[in-house]
């Protein structure tokens, strides 16, 4: 049985490996993760005032300095930590909630209508202004950002999961599991979740990239953690000091970092999706 189970996965992997775009994106993500982990080795934590204010990029300051003389390279390196950590933890949280709600809606018929209405309503509201309100009320911190973003990102996951799980619920092995006397929770855990997870893979990646964008947006508006750096915070400081229109280096590098992270996660999900579809062709 194990060989049969492993083959499709191996096939997906070999198809994925042949896709340069997917491999390149994966490598870039690994690189960014390494930067996030080893930030303290790459640059000192940016704080206080420096002597060289508003300097363009040079050998001493690769990405230039901001209006109070802090090194922009150090800000971007340390920002990688918070941006990736918030993006990742928010999406993990959103996916756990989305999985639970999506699977319950598909399996427990009575819950389907109320949960469906809840998801529809949440999806039709403008999310950013709502996140702004909640983040402002809860007070800015890294944890607040992750929770707030997760709180308003799960409906999308729940919708994808539900539609996938609905296809599995009527399958004979689910009825068989019921006949054997399996509890609902056991059936959900052992039969529904494994069937849903491959599809959720794509959703995970997309949720992460959206979470990164949401974090950047909230921090840009001034709702970031005041004690740590994120790419959105760098842009917020540039906006506040009025260097948006004069010091291009204060905005270009954090912007490029956001673009690289979001684009590589998006392309990774596209490549993964393509690789998985090859399986059905063969």
């Amino acid at each position: 049985m194990t060989t049969v189970e492993l083959t499709p996965r191996q096939r997906t992997w070999s198809a994925f490996r042949r896709n340069p775009l997917g491999m390149g994106s994966g490598a870039l993500l690994v690189l960014l993760a390494l930067v996030a982990i080893f930030a303290p080795l790459l640059a000192p934590f940016p704080e206080g005032y420096g002597a060289d204010t508003s300097q363009p990029p040079s050998a001493a300051h690769w990405f230039g300095t901001d209006d109070i003389g802090q090194d922009v390279f150090a800000q971007v390196v340390w920002g990688t930590r918070v941006s990736m950590a918030v993006g990742l933890s928010a999406s993990v949280l959103a996916i756990v909630i989305g999985l639970l709600i999506g699977v319950s809606a598909a399996y427990f018929r009575r819950l389907d209508t109320p949960l469906g209405v809840l998801v529809d309503l949440s999806l039709s509201l403008p999310v950013l202004p709502l996140m702004i309100l909640v983040a402002a009320l809860a007070g800015p911190s890294v944890r607040t950002l992750a929770v707030v973003i997760a709180l308003f990102s799960w409906p999308e996951v729940a919708r994808v999961v539900r539609s996938q799980a609905l296809a599995i619920v009527p399958m004979p092995f689910v009825s068989a599991a019921k006949v054997v006397g399996g509890s609902s929770w056991w059936i959900v855990r052992k039969h529904l979740l494994p069937g849903v997870i491959p599809v959720v893979g794509v959703s995970v990646v997309l949720t992460t990239s959206r979470a990164v964008l949401a974090e950047a947006g909230l921090s840009f508006l001034g709702l970031g953690d005041p004690n740590s750096w994120s790419w959105g915070t760098i842009l917020h400081k540039a906006q506040q000091s009025g260097s948006l229109a004069s010091a291009w280096w204060t905005t270009l590098f954090p912007s490029a970092a956001i673009l690289l992270l979001v684009l590589s996660t998006t392309l990774l999900s596209v490549a993964y999706n393509d690789a998985r579809n090859h399986r059905s062709d063969t």
């Binding site: 209405v117 309503l121 999806l123 039709s124 509201l125 403008p126 999310v127 950013l128 202004p129 709502l130 702004i132 309100l133 909640v134 402002a136 009320l137 809860a138 007070g139 990239s209 964008l213 950047a216 947006g217 840009f220 508006l221 001034g222 709702l223 842009l235 906006q239 948006l244 229109a245 291009w248 905005t251 912007s255 956001i258 673009l259 979001v262 684009l263 998006t266 392309l267 596209v270």
Partner: protein, 317 residues
């Protein structure tokens, strides 16, 4: 009529949901609204008086009903900082946000349809690849980054467009209109760039599907010109799912407007939100969300009804 009634009821339900969620979030979250209004060192007596003034000493249920009642009369409460009703603050700003978002949407659709057609009719060609890759990239863009880039290149370096504000205050009459359009270009373009990818990609997929339908083969067999087959036969059907995307993207559009207005100091609701964040002016933040949610609900209602008119099948189902 029944169809419109159902959609209307759903819109009202969404609005009620939005209002209720925000009410309870604001009351249950830790940020003490009174601390936000006044000095933390004030006396207990003054604190009580302030609580009573804002109606915050009543039981939660009573506060909720009061809030709903006030909302029905168009009252969103008082701004903590400016001592004017939130409705006044926001209504002054609303027209600017409407001008920005509606123009951005119109330009997006005007560019998205031909680009989608171009990609679909050359599916798998190099042009299609370029459009697809650009579309995916555009969806990964961070709105403020786009705004800053455009501001820098077109506003600061080339000096073609103003980089802040919505209108030249000295201008009058026709010159004022021109100045308004001139100020609109960069913020509008920023929003178009982030929206366009989604439209083009959806347009492309649905048009490719439509081009494989029997009625397209029939039209071709009858000898209808290829261009006419695409534009008159397939496109009309491909437009329907695109209408749905327009509805779904409204939330993104509104979020994008908040960020864009911040960059360009454009005096819309989004800029008001940014200012309110800096001042912890919760009633303005809450009011802005309720108003924006209402705008999205109304726009969705219009999209739904338009869809019903375009496609009779929707009305019966």
């Amino acid at each position: 009529m029944r169809f419109i009634g159902i959609r209307l009821a759903r819109g009202l339900l969404t609005l009620w949901f939005a209002v209720t969620v925000t009410f309870f979030l604001v009351r249950l979250l830790p940020g003490d609204p009174v601390l936000a209004v006044a000095d933390p060192n004030m006396t207990e007596e003054l604190r009580r008086k302030l609580l009573a003034d804002f109606g915050l000493d009543q039981p939660l249920g009573v506060q909720y009903l009061n809030y709903l009642g006030q909302l029905l009369q168009g009252n969103l409460g008082m701004s903590f900082r400016q001592s004017v009703p939130v409705t006044t603050v926001l209504m002054e700003r609303l027209p600017w946000t409407l001008i920005l978002t509606i123009s951005a949407m119109a330009v997006t659709i005007a560019l998205g349809i031909p680009l989608g057609v171009l990609a679909a009719t050359r599916a798998k060609g190099w042009m299609d690849r370029v459009i697809q890759l650009t579309g995916v990239t555009a969806q990964s863009l961070f709105v403020p980054s786009v705004g800053i880039l455009l501001m820098y290149v077109l506003g600061v370096w080339l000096g073609w467009f103003p980089i802040g504000g919505a209108v030249d205050l000295d201008a009058t009459g026709f010159a004022a209109t021109l100045s308004m359009l001139h100020h609109l270009v960069l913020p509008c373009l920023s929003l178009v760039l982030i929206q366009l990818g989604g439209y083009v990609l959806t347009m492309r997929t649905t048009l490719i599907d439509a081009l494989g339908e029997d009625y397209v083969s029939l039209a071709k067999a009858k000898g209808v010109k290829p261009g006419k087959v695409v534009w008159k036969h397939a496109l009309r059907n491909a437009l329907l799912p695109t209408t749905t995307i327009a509805g779904l993207q409204l939330g993104t559009l509104v979020g994008g407007a908040v960020l864009t207005e911040t960059i360009y100091a454009y005096p819309g609701i989004g800029r008001a939100v940014y200012e309110a964040v800096g001042q912890l002016d919760f009633p303005v933040l809450q009011g802005a969300f309720v108003l924006l949610a209402a705008a999205v609900v109304v726009a969705n209602l219009i999209t739904d009804v338009a869809y019903g008119i375009l496609d009779p099948r929707v009305r019966t189902s």
